[in-house]
């Protein structure tokens, strides 16, 4: 464990995870395809997970890693629900472009 952090410094993890998070955020903002947006959200999530694990190691504290387990489990459930919603959306509007989802506009 220590070796990994000695070989690759904690700052690199921070850079990577920031980068991943930004990629995810911009993906959410600029893509119109719901599935791609969904994937972008997953990237953001995993960026955070990565950071959690990295800091967990850095602080010699297992709590962060356990937290990541929970986070992944919840993310899995979220994916299941999210994909189900997408299927339902597809059936209703014949597409998954989010610009089509304007039926609720007042």
């Amino acid at each position: 464990m220590e070796n990994i952090l000695q070989e690759i410094g904690i700052d690199n993890y921070i850079y990577l995870s920031t980068l991943l998070f930004c990629v995810g955020a911009f993906g959410v903002l600029f893509r119109r395809n719901a599935i791609v947006m969904f994937m972008s959200i997953e990237i953001m999530l995993n960026a955070v997970n990565l950071l959690l694990v990295a800091f967990s190691t850095y602080h010699q504290d297992a709590a962060g890693q356990i937290f990541v387990f929970f986070s992944m489990a919840v993310a899995a459930a979220e994916v299941a629900v999210g994909l189900a919603i997408l299927v339902a959306v597809y059936r209703n509007v014949k597409g998954i472009d989010i610009d089509n989802l304007k039926n609720l506009k007042g």
Partner: protein, 626 residues
Amino acid sequence: METNLALLLLFAPFAGFLINVFFGKKIGKNASGYLGTAAVAVSFVVTLFFFLQVSSTKKAISVELFEWLNLQNFTVGFNFLLDQLSLLWLMFVTGIGTLIHLYSISYMHDDENMHKFFAYLNLFVFFMLTLVMGSNLLIMFIGWEGVGLCSYLLIGFWYKNQDYNDAAKKAFIMNRIGDLGFLIGIFILAHIFHTLEYTNIRTAVENAWTIDRTWLTIAMLCLFIGACGKSAQIPLYTWLPDAMAGPTPVSALIHAATMVTAGIFMVTRLNFLFNLTPDVLEVMAIVGAITSLIAASIGLVQNDIKKVLAYSTVSQLGLMFLALGCGAYEIAVFHVITHAFFKACLFLGSGSVIHALHGEQDMRNMGGLRKVMKITFATFLISTLAISGLPPFSGFFSKDEILMTAFHHNTVLYVIGSLASIMTAFYMFRLLYLTFYKDFRGTEEQKHHLHESPGLITFPLIVLAILALVGGAISLPGASWLNEYLAPVIAKPAVHHHLGPTEYMLMGIAVVGALVGIGIAYAKYMNKGEVPPQDSEIKGVAGLLYNKYYVDEVYTAIIVKPIYAIGSFFKNVTEAAISGLVFGFGKAAVFLGKQGGAVQNGSVGFYLLIFVLGICAIVGSIFLIK
């Protein structure tokens, strides 16, 4: 036993009111009328019982029901006091009330709302009984307000006529002004004495040496203002002549015989307090004398038969206040009683005439009724002689005593009172001649329908005329039953002047004065056969009098108009400022809502952008604050 009887006395008219209100239409006109009459008759019988008991035992009956208010050192009980004064008042309220109810059965028979009329009359009697029977000022105030309400309801009884409604409102508002004075007076008395029971106040007055005279004077002045409102004295008298808009029995019962004497009742009730404030008594005497003169002078030229009687009532009430102001409470009460008899008779007689002429009230269109309406004429003549103050009719004794007292009190007031009396004799005989003598001046159709009124109308007239004839016997000069009877409730009896040469001379002057008034009326309306000119031809002094000194117009100009002006000013201001502000808030909210609504454009991408920017802002602010 006494409690139950007293409650029966009080609540019989109220029961009549309830039944007439809820079932009056179902039970039919006659039943409703007789029921209303019976309710008051029951009260009369019970009153008679109490009256006989108290006049023999000479002990007041006190009925204590329950404690109404209980503050730290101030309690008000819901109690009634049946003493000599209240029983005397109850006697003629219920007695004349019964007669007038009886009269109304026939008089109001063609009215579709007869049951309502009797309900109101019963309610009036109930409140009048409350006013008279109460043992403290607060209960009197309940009755005081109640009779005002009933007066309003009955003046505006024919509510489809807007003028009548206005008259009703005028009466109510004028009374309210007086009532405010009355209420303030009660508050100050409560502050001074910590009690409102008459007996307790009287004990306090007799035992305590230090009473704050300034506050007491203010209180009595306020109470006098209340009396002015109810008893139609200057400056609050203008409602009474307008109150004649109501059906004639109402004018007789409320606006001549009973309610308008409430102010005199109140002053007599509190005579031991008024004795302590001679200044207020002086004001009262002056106001009474002036009212009496002004009202009598207006009465000289009125052509509406009921208006003449109305101004005559105001004038007679003025004389009563003159007597009160001279400290002669018994004499004022005496005049109240005789006045109740002959004025009720006069009003009912005029009602009989109006009834025969199908609503005609203008004396210029009457005349010659003597031959057709014999009973009405005879009773009217007796009452006219009584009010003019000719012996041996009742009015002579009471009016003469008032003038005699005034003479010993203040010569100027005596002269004013005497002038008013002479005018009274003139206008009453003017009324009599124009109505009953010469030839009929109405339309042919009216002439064809002329008839004497039915028995239900003439019977009360006859009874009242007899009372007007012999009523003076209750207080003959030198041997007065009334003064003796009232002695326990009057703290300081009026100075009774020995019947010497001066007194006989005064009597002579009064009689001669009345005869002069009658003589002028005779010369003018019998010998010359004059008929008052049409409205447009009334000019000069007569025009001033005919238009009632333009008092109504003056009140309109200096009180009503400015109040309206203030009202419309504030209406405009509030309209602009407050409503503008409120509407402004509303408009701002709508505007902001529209702007905010534009953000909700339905584009998920846009929402997400805002979401991310929001998160960035939160995170950024957290770091910046740190």
